[in-house]
Every structure is written in structure tokens, then in C-alpha cells.
């Protein structure tokens, strides 16, 4: 890899081109071993690696204890772009490694990253609260912005959208599970195409997204008289003859339904 920028390859004969082709990246953990041998304290730098994930894999950077940043492979040019973006955002160097933080691989494989420690000191209090609320959305489910704001105990949507635009740890903080209040997907971090790929990998079918878009905000069951977000695990168990669609929480309440205690729809 030619890290220096000043050398531009001129039109050259075979030998020079072949020599330039001999430069390759160092083995995966060479830099990490250097730092270990020299004895730089572990809390002075982050390590990162590229893990299997939808949308081009995920670069994940982590410090001694916690994940400090991530980026989807499809949104970046390569590892060097990730290193530089991480440096620019956190002021810490990301050193390539081959060994992930314990629990990271499992979190990615199962899509359950709630218990993973994520440390984002560069965000504001409100943004962190919003992202923490986003992290509680279960795999395969969708929640509107207003729900996130309510769960985070924030007065309005503004800090939530800011946090979603910034989201420094996409996928592990599942911002692809957030929708606008009208039900349309809210992919502020990486655009609708990548968002659709991530949702598809979790089995969130477009029919459900479409259901919300057609004006059905909540789904009730006429046997239990409980209403849920349409992607809530309890809503998905309602058999079609018993599904009762509602346009708003008020309509559901007026019909004598109560809110689900596990997906906690906003009782407007």
C-alpha cells in the first residue's frame, strides 16, 4: 500500500510496475503488536476490524472496554477511509487488529446488541439518550421517531433526528429500525438503499412497512383488546381474522383497546 501521496506512478516499464505491485499491507495485527510491544497503554488508542455484516460488512472500532465507532463497508472507500474518519471524529487512532471485542461477533450475528458496551463521549447528553432509546428497539421491529423521543424522555424530535444523522455506530445502534411518524423508513445516516438492505437482513418485510405507510399506525387484536406497533412480536401473532387496524392511538382507545405493555405505543 502506498500511503504517501507525493509519488505518482509515471508510465513505466514492466519492472517498475511489478515492483510497485510488491507493496502490500502489513499482516492484520502487525501494528497492534508493535504498540503492545512498545508498551503504549491500551486506553490511548482504539483497535478496529472488519466484520461480516449486510451492506458491505461493518468496520468496528473499540477501546479497552467499549465500542467507540463503526461504519458500514458500503458507505466507505476502504479501511484507510475508516481510520481517517475515526481519527477525525474521536481524535483517537484506530489500529487494525484481527481479534474482536468479546461479544461483538455474537451481537452482529444475532442482531441483539443491547448488552454491548458502547462509549460515545463526543455526543451531547440528549443525543446519547436518544441513541440509548434506539438501542432498545428489538431486532426485526420498527418504532417511530416520537416513540424514541418519549422513551428517551426528550421534549421533542429534534435531538433524536440529530442523533440519528450523526449515529457513529450504525447497525450496532439500529437506526434502521426507526421510522418517521407517518411510518416511512427514516434512514438519515446512510440513505434508503442501505437501510432497506439492513431491514431485509432482519426479516422486516416491506409489507409491514407498507402497512404503516397506508395509514395503519397500530394493530389491535379483538380477542385481547390490546393494540401494538404493527412490527411488535405480539402484533405479529394476531391471526388475520382478528387483526384490527387503527389509524391512531386515540382511535384504538376510543374503541376500548389498551396499549401493549411491551412495545409501549404512545397513548396520545
Amino acid at each position: 500500500m502506498n500511503r504517501g501521496g507525493e509519488w505518482t506512478p509515471q508510465p513505466e516499464s514492466g519492472v517498475e510496475a511489478a515492483l510497485a505491485g510488491l507493496a502490500g499491507p502489513a499482516p492484520g495485527d502487525f501494528a497492534a503488536r508493535v504498540l503492545q510491544r512498545v508498551g503504549i497503554p491500551r486506553d490511548r488508542y482504539d483497535m478496529y476490524l472488519h466484520l461480516e455484516a449486510p451492506a458491505g460488512g461493518l468496520y468496528v472500532a473499540y477501546g479497552a472496554q467499549a465500542v467507540t465507532g463503526a461504519a458500514l463497508g458500503r458507505t466507505l472507500a476502504g479501511p484507510q477511509a475508516f481510520e481517517e474518519a475515526h481519527r477525525a471524529r474521536t481524535g483517537r487512532s484506530a489500529i487494525p487488529t484481527t481479534r474482536p471485542l468479546p461479544g461483538l461477533r455474537t451481537a452482529l450475528r444475532t442482531g441483539r446488541a443491547k448488552s454491548l458496551v458502547i462509549d460515545l463521549p463526543e455526543l451531547t447528553e440528549a443525543e446519547r439518550a436518544a441513541l440509548d432509546a434506539v438501542r432498545t428497539i428489538p431486532r426485526g421491529q420498527l418504532r417511530p421517531l416520537a416513540w424514541v423521543a418519549r422513551e428517551a424522555a426528550l421534549p421533542d424530535d429534534a435531538p433524536v433526528t440529530e442523533a440519528l444523522v450523526a449515529n457513529p455506530v450504525p447497525l450496532l445502534i439500529p437506526c434502521h429500525r426507526v421510522t418517521f411518524d407517518n411510518g416511512g423508513p427514516c434512514d438519515l445516516r446512510y440513505g434508503p438503499i442501505v437501510g432497506a438492505v439492513l431491514r431485509k437482513a432482519e426479516g422486516i418485510d416491506d409489507a409491514l412497512v407498507g402497512l404503516s405507510r397506508s395509514g395503519t399506525a397500530f394493530l389491535g387484536s379483538d380477542t385481547t383488546r390490546i393494540y401494538c406497533h404493527p412490527t411488535c412480536a405480539h402484533a405479529r401473532r394476531i391471526t388475520p381474522p382478528h387483526q384490527v387496524p387503527f389509524r391512531s392511538a386515540r382511535a384504538a382507545r376510543e374503541a376500548g383497546y389498551r396499549a401493549c405493555k411491551s412495545c409501549r405505543p404512545i397513548a396520545a
Partner: protein, 195 residues
Amino acid sequence: MDETAEPLPERMATDLDDGFTELVRVHASAVHAFLLRVTGNAAEADDLGQETFLRAYTALQGYSAERRSALRPRAWLMTIATNVWRNHVRTCIRRPVAAAPVEESCESWPDEGPGPQEHAETAADRALLVAALARLPERARVAVVLRHVVGMSYAEVAEVQGCPVGTVKAQVSRGLSVLRELLEPEVALLREVTM
């Protein structure tokens, strides 16, 4: 120098650990590639690379802040790497009792020359080029690798080699023509015949 490494010396001057981490991030690949192509042996390149950065860190600890901020990191690191490698080669020659793999790689570089089978596989194979590189004399090899594998400017290479730019240009060009002859024996033969 390159944009990514531009504020690096200042960073090393203000906070050594942070600056050194960044130094490793930016230059580890280049140092490793240089040592790999000069030694022709991945395990050795790895060891010598570690040694290079360890020495760099120890040296930086003794430097004043002004000296650190005046540093040109890449050329400086390559100088250390070259010295580490030369010392290593010298040690191996003086103490041939070293472990077998080290001994092999130090004393008999050119022996791993390409056999007829390799010739048959791909004419312009990387293995051929690596073997040819190993036949170059030390200084020419360092110059060629720094210039064309790592991609440094002639001025930077001259700084590493501690000699004038013109000398480096001559070393590189001579090295390249030797490589060409090694890689294309027929062409060289033809030239001998015609001359």
C-alpha cells in the same frame, strides 16, 4: 509529505504516546513492506519491524519537543529500519550458529532462485521478482525498494541512505537494469551477442 502525516510531528511533540500511535497507524504498512522486500522473509520482516518501532519509540523519548516536531517521520523510520536490518544481517554473518531458518535467509538469499517449474507457471511472476531483488547488492536493493515499492521520492531515499540525490538515482537505475537482466535473460543475452 503526505496529507495524513502532515500534523504528525506536532502531535508527537505534544503527546508522545498519542503521536506514536498515529505514527504506527500511518507508517506500519510501509515499514513492513520495505523490510519484507529487503529481507525476502515474512517472519524476519515482522521481527525487524517490531524492533524498528521499538527503537523509534525509545529515541523519541530522548528527543526534545523541537526535535520531534522537526522530524520527517517516514524517512526517519526508514533510516532506522535500514540500520536494524543491516545490524541483523551482520549479526547473522558473525554468529552463524543462529536458528536454522534465520541462517538460511541470511546466508543464502539467492538460493531460492526460481526453478523451471516456476518459470513455466507465469513468466512475470512475483516470486521471480522477489528472488531477483534478493540478488541485488545491499545499497541498491534498499534504494530500489524505497523508491519503487514504498514509493518515496529520490530526496527522501537520499536522506535514508545518507548520500546525495544523484547517487541514489544512479543506484536505483543500476538496480533496475540488473533486475531487468535477471528477469529477462534472453534480452540480456541478445545484447551481449550484438555488442
